[in-house]
Structure formats: structure tokens, C-alpha cells
């Protein structure tokens, strides 16, 4: 099971908050994202980022290393868009690149706001993703009356992703054992063969999985038992914390207004 040790799925099922009520987590994450978008100052999203990171690292006990890798990609995009935005502002340029392009105060402020909003938003979403096992999220689909066919497909895809990840890893290793991928042309050929074989395997797996499901009475719809929490089970403590969070946030948003660094 070693290839699954360091995956998102592993951490989302094995952290200190996996078992806590999913509705508390979803309501908190959605509110945090919403409030994050309502602010005009980069300070508030930064506070959200700090709060969510604290929850993820201290309460859920997700390793810092993994959290850093998780945040790295969205952060990279945020920095890139920040740089572009800094050049797009109008007004007096404080630094000129030439060809009439330069950085303006307005641009920097806009860039900061967007960068920190991304940071805060991803951290809030990360809090939900990193602490919640996937199967709990499927239960929410059911409560939200998402069409059964979408939920069914999501459930089957979720299961078989891991199966085919395993198949792919095994085939990849066996190709490398026989000196595959040793130069560019071989790399191209091996990858093509791997992709083709995995595709054929998915086809075969589909046939046999259908037989196995049919053996247990499957007739076109996955009848799953309702598992997971109800919104009624959210504890009073959680409600109080969420309400407190909203009041403090609204207060902070009003206080900070459109306060900017420049």
C-alpha cells in the first residue's frame, strides 16, 4: 500500500478531524470562502489563511510538508496572476519596464488583494478537502439532491481511480525493469503502450465489475445505504464557534474597509 501513503486520500481519512461532523466543516469552509470574497482589504483573507492553516496543522495534524506541497500549485498560479495584475493597473507608474508598461500603485494593491484572496480561499477549501474523507462528501451529494447518476458515477470513479493507479504503477515498474524509458523515443513508445494497456484494462474491468455488481442484484442504479452525519447533529459548540467566526469576520471586514498597503 506504499504508493497510497502520501496521497491526499490517505490524509483525508487519517487525520484528527476525519470523524467530526461534515456539516460543521462544510458550513465553515463555505462561509469562510464567501466572507473572503466580500472583503476589500488583503489583510482579512490573510487572517483566513492563518486561521485555516492553524486548523489544518494544529487540529487536524496534517504534516506541514504535505500541506506545503498541497498549497504550492495554487500559490504558484496566484503569484503569476499577481505579477500580471501589478502591470495592468492604471495611473501613475512607480516602476517602468518600457514600451509604456509599468507597475502602478493601483496595480500592486489589486495584485495583493487577488493574491491573498486566492491564499485564503484555497486554505478554506483545503481545510474541507484535507479533513474530510471522500465518502462523506458523497453522502452530502445525496442530501443536496444531486442526480443519482452523477453520484453513482462519482462513487465508481473514486473507487477505480485507485485501482488503475495501482495497475499503472505496476505496469510502469515492469516497463522500467525491462529498460523502458531509457531515451526519448523509448519514453514515447513506453508511455503510449502504457496508456493503451491501461485503457484496455479499464474496459475489461468494466465488464467484470458489471458481472460482480449484477451478482449482488444491481439493476441500473446503485442503491447505497445512507451513511454519514446529518445537519441536525452539528453540536451547539460548533454552531457557537461558527456564529462567533461570522460576527468577528464581519466586524473585521467593516473595520478594515478598503485598507491597502499603499
Amino acid at each position: 500500500m506504499s504508493i497510497f501513503e502520501d496521497t491526499l486520500d490517505h490524509y483525508s481519512t487519517n487525520n484528527e478531524l476525519s470523524e467530526s461532523n461534515i456539516y460543521s466543516k462544510i458550513i465553515f469552509a463555505l462561509l469562510a470562502i464567501l466572507l473572503n470574497l466580500m472583503t476589500g482589504s488583503p489583510i482579512f483573507p490573510f487572517l483566513i489563511f492563518l486561521l485555516c492553516s492553524f486548523l489544518i496543522l494544529y487540529f487536524a495534524k496534517i504534516p506541514l510538508r504535505f500541506y506545503a506541497t498541497f498549497m504550492a500549485i495554487p500559490l504558484g498560479f496566484a503569484i503569476l496572476s499577481g505579477i500580471f495584475l501589478a502591470f495592468l493597473g492604471t495611473g501613475e507608474q512607480i516602476w517602468t519596464l518600457g514600451f509604456g508598461i509599468g507597475i502602478t500603485k493601483g496595480g500592486i494593491n489589486q495584485a495583493m488583494l487577488v493574491f491573498f484572496r486566492v491564499l485564503g480561499g484555497v486554505a478554506a477549501l483545503g481545510f474541507l478537502i484535507l479533513t474530510t474523507p471522500m465518502n462523506r462528501i458523497f453522502a452530502i451529494f445525496h442530501d443536496l439532491h444531486v442526480p443519482a447518476v452523477i453520484t453513482d458515477l462519482a462513487i465508481l470513479m473514486y473507487r477505480y481511480i485507485f485501482l488503475f493507479l495501482d495497475v499503472t504503477a505496476t505496469m510502469y515498474n515492469s516497463q522500467k525493469t525491462r529498460l523502458g524509458y531509457h531515451n526519448y523515443m523509448s519514453w514515447m513508445k513506453c508511455l503510449a503502450a502504457l496508456a493503451g494497456m491501461v485503457f484496455i484494462r479499464t474496459w475489461e474491468q468494466g465488464e467484470i465489475s458489471y458481472k460482480a455488481l449484477a451478482s449482488r442484484g444491481y439493476n441500473g442504479q446503485l442503491n447505497m445505504i445512507r451513511e454519514g452525519d446529518s445537519i441536525k447533529d452539528v453540536s451547539i459548540r460548533d454552531w457557537i464557534l461558527i456564529i462567533l467566526f461570522v460576527i468577528l469576520s464581519v466586524f473585521a471586514i467593516i473595520k478594515l474597509g478598503n485598507w491597502t498597503i499603499f
Binding site: N135, A212, I225
Partner: protein
């Protein structure tokens, strides 16, 4: 006399390309039996098993479940599948749900039982296979033996009359394989009718005394362990061998002229011990 629960009459099956997979099998299962089907790879065991609950429709011949010939409309198939449960060889083919609990609940849910009954069955069957503490785990976080247990629980929860297992010990370590066979033996002792396919000749004699040898889509021989393993020609034809314990006694008899009785070689460690103690 026990009631006949499953009967196969003159079963023939050809693959879509015309290859004959099953070439005329007559087979009868009585309530409470534990039957082993021994056969080499490619003998047609899996294909044969998928006829029992109507997943494969035979080219000719008949499947009779509890005296009723199997029909292939939706309703009859559903009924047949609740009576005859098939555990697939590779548990990854069978487990599909995000958690063990939901997977085991799938069969009973399809039978249209109410939720309370479904939960009761899921909990009892997980308890039975010793997987209760893994109920909330995802299948891809389990080991091979654990997946096998969950796959068995998924069928147990449907409370079928007959449980059919395709190579239940394949891919398991020796202890895991023995534990699964012991579980099946216990289930059988509690009244479940069980059909197992395998080519583990060392394990079979310990748990089952009703063996059918299947080769190239035909049943070569049916009988007790001693009858089947005593028939050298059948064993050789079916690419099987004597269990290791039997081979010791065969060598002692053939090379050293030490004969231990005339009703065949002992086939399990316990039998061997008894035979040796008698002789000494």
C-alpha cells in the same frame, strides 16, 4: 435425505467465438454440503460458476434452484441472485463502494430490505468475517486478505442459500488462506451450503470431503478425497498432484515397500499422524 438446492442439467456453453467452454455438466448440490471443485487453470471453473446465478446464460441445459428452473427475466434473476451468492476471485472486481460498510450493504439494499434489517445484516456479517473494526475504511486501504473477507461479508449479508466462491485462497499468504478456509468451514457447520473452486490440493482435504474434478469443461470425477486422490489417472489428466502429505506415503510405499493400510494414502497432517502412530 437432504433437499437438493441447486441442480445443473446437461450444461453446455460456447463462447461467442464458438469455443466450447462447458461441454455437458451434470451437477447436484444438496443442502448443507461443502463441495470443492478442483481443476487446473482454464478448466472453465469461473465460467461454470457464473451460470449458477444467471450471469451467463447457457447455450443449452438447465439450472434448477430449489426445484425451480432458472428463467432469465429481471425478476427471476434477482431472486436467483439472492439465493445463490457468488464471491469473485479478485476482490477488487467486487468491492466498489467508498467504504466497507456501504459495500457490504449494497446486496441487501438491492434486495429491497428496510434500513434497520440492512444494518443488522451488515453488522452481523462483518462480525462473522472479523472485519467489524474496518467498517468505515476505504477498500483500497485494506490488505488482500481483508478485501477477501469483505467480499465474503458482502455476499453473507444477502443471506443466500448457497455461497459460491471462486478461488477463495488465491493470492493469500498461507495463514490467510487457512483462515479463509476455516471461516468457510465454520459457515458450513452453521448450515450454509458452500461450493468452492480451488487448485490448492493441500488445503482441500482438510475442509471438504466432496470433490469434483473439472477439466476442459467436463467433470472428470466426483467423490470423496480418498476416492479422487486415489485415482492416479484422473489426477494426472487434470494437471493436479497428490497433497504433499500423500506424496510422502506414496514414496514410502513405492520406494521402501512400507504399506500403511489399503484405503488410500492419508492426505492431511492429522490423518498422517494417526496412521503413523498406529504403525509405530
Amino acid at each position: 435425505m437432504a433437499q437438493t438446492i441447486l441442480e445443473v442439467k446437461d450444461l453446455h456453453y460456447n463462447y461467442p467465438d464458438g469455443t466450447q467452454a462447458i461441454k455437458g455438466i451434470d451437477f447436484k448440490v444438496e443442502e448443507g454440503q461443502m463441495i470443492s471443485i478442483l481443476g487446473p487453470n482454464g478448466a472453465g471453473k469461473s465460467t461454470f460458476f457464473l451460470h449458477f446465478n444467471g450471469i451467463i446464460e447457457p447455450t443449452s441445459g438447465q439450472i434448477i434452484i430449489e426445484g425451480e428452473p432458472l428463467k432469465y427475466d429481471k425478476k427471476s434473476l434477482l431472486k436467483a441472485r439472492a439465493k445463490v451468492g457468488v464471491v469473485f476471485q479478485n476482490p477488487d472486481d467486487q468491492l466498489f463502494a467508498p467504504t466497507v460498510y456501504e459495500d457490504v450493504a449494497f446486496g441487501p439494499m438491492n434486495m429491497g430490505l428496510d434500513e434497520e434489517e440492512v444494518r443488522r445484516r451488515v453488522e452481523t456479517s462483518l462480525e462473522r468475517v472479523g472485519m467489524s473494526e474496518y467498517a468505515q475504511k476505504a477498500p483500497h486501504h485494506l490488505s488482500g486478505g481483508q478485501k477477501k473477507r469483505v467480499a465474503i461479508a458482502g455476499i453473507l449479508a444477502m443471506e443466500p442459500k448457497v455461497m459460491v466462491l471462486d478461488e477463495p485462497t488465491s493470492g493469500l499468504d498461507p495463514n490467510g488462506a487457512s483462515a479463509i478456509m476455516q471461516l468457510l468451514y465454520d459457515l458450513n457447520a452453521d448450515g450454509m451450503t458452500i461450493i468452492v473452486s480451488t487448485h490448492d490440493v493441500d488445503l482441500v482435504p482438510m475442509y471438504s470431503d466432496n470433490i469434483n474434478v473439472l477439466r476442459k469443461g467436463k467433470i472428470l470425477k466426483q467423490g470423496t478425497c480418498r476416492e479422487v486422490f486415489g485415482d492416479e489417472k484422473v489426477i494426472e489428466d487434470a494437471d493436479l498432484r497428490l497433497p504433499w502429505v500423500g506424496q510422502i506415503f506414496e514414496m514410502l510405499e513405492q520406494e521402501d515397500d512400507i504399506v500403511f493400510g489399503d484405503d488410500g494414502y492419508p492426505l492431511t497432517v492429522a490423518d498422517a499422524r494417526e496412521t503413523l502412530l498406529e504403525k509405530l
